[in-house]
């Protein structure tokens, strides 16, 4: 596992970031209604 900590860490970071970005982008592109405002996470 000591040999694999870097791949694990990088894959987690990249994958989480990519999931957030791709999901948000796809939903943004598909969305027709105007965005609402307010405090968001």
């Amino acid at each position: 596992m000591s040999d694999e900590w870097l791949p694990l860490l990088v894959s987690l970071l990249v994958s989480t970031l990519a999931t957030l970005v791709v999901t948000a982008l796809v939903m943004k592109l598909c969305q027709c209604s105007p965005a609402t405002t307010g405090e968001t996470p």
Partner: protein, 198 residues
């Protein structure tokens, strides 16, 4: 008085109640910090609780099995297990279901030849990463819609992200919960199918 405390400690340390008690106290302390910070995502209560628990386990030399029997210890204990593992293919399989909630992810990992305990750790880390970092990612992308933010965080970081979304915005929380559920079901169907062709 000192003897009473000693007796309580002896009793707790010999039972799973210790893990449960420490977990609840750690999370409560972390949650108080989170509230006092103005719900700052960098002070994520799960992240802080993990640090507290790791510190506690290190200082008390509490065994993996004891804590696991108690409660949420899959987080810390699985990290300890993961450090001792060295299986490349298994690691990949363990990573596959990392974005769904822990029980589902562990079940999937077990079915596909992954390491459920490693998966549990990866799931938690993923959740924390998403809960802590999502706000900055969305702000950088200029994504303001709570529905989009909630849905994305629910898919990327399951229950931990959903909890974060619910604390901040009800609409985001609702979409995060929806996304988390859908992603769990979809991942349970897709991952074994994809691995079969691997």
């Amino acid at each position: 008085m000192t003897q009473d405390i000693t007796q309580i400690w002896v009793y707790l340390s010999a039972s799973p109640l210790l893990g449960l008690t420490v977990t609840l106290l750690a999370y409560q302390a972390a949650f108080v910090l989170y509230r006092r910070s103005g719900n700052n995502p960098l002070v994520n209560p799960v992240l802080i609780a993990v640090f507290i628990l790791v510190l506690f386990l290190t200082l008390t030399v509490t065994s993996y099995e004891t804590y696991f029997a108690g409660s949420l210890t899959a987080i810390v204990s699985a990290v300890l297990v993961a450090r001792m593992l060295d299986a490349s293919t298994s690691t990949q399989f363990s990573l596959a279901p990392k974005s769904v909630t822990t029980p589902i992810a562990m079940g999937i990992a077990e079915r596909i030849g992954g390491i459920p305990s490693l998966t549990a750790v990866l799931v938690i880390i993923t959740g924390i990463l998403g809960a802590v970092g999502a706000r900055f990612v969305f702000d950088a992308m200029k994504v303001r819609d709570p529905a989009i933010r909630g849905f994305a965080i629910g898919i990327a970081s399951h229950g931990i992200g959903t909890a974060r979304a619910l604390q901040v915005n009800e609409q985001s929380g609702a979409f995060a919960a929806l996304a988390m559920g859908m992603n769990g079901a979809l991942t349970a169907l897709l991952v074994p199918w994809l691995v079969a062709g691997f």
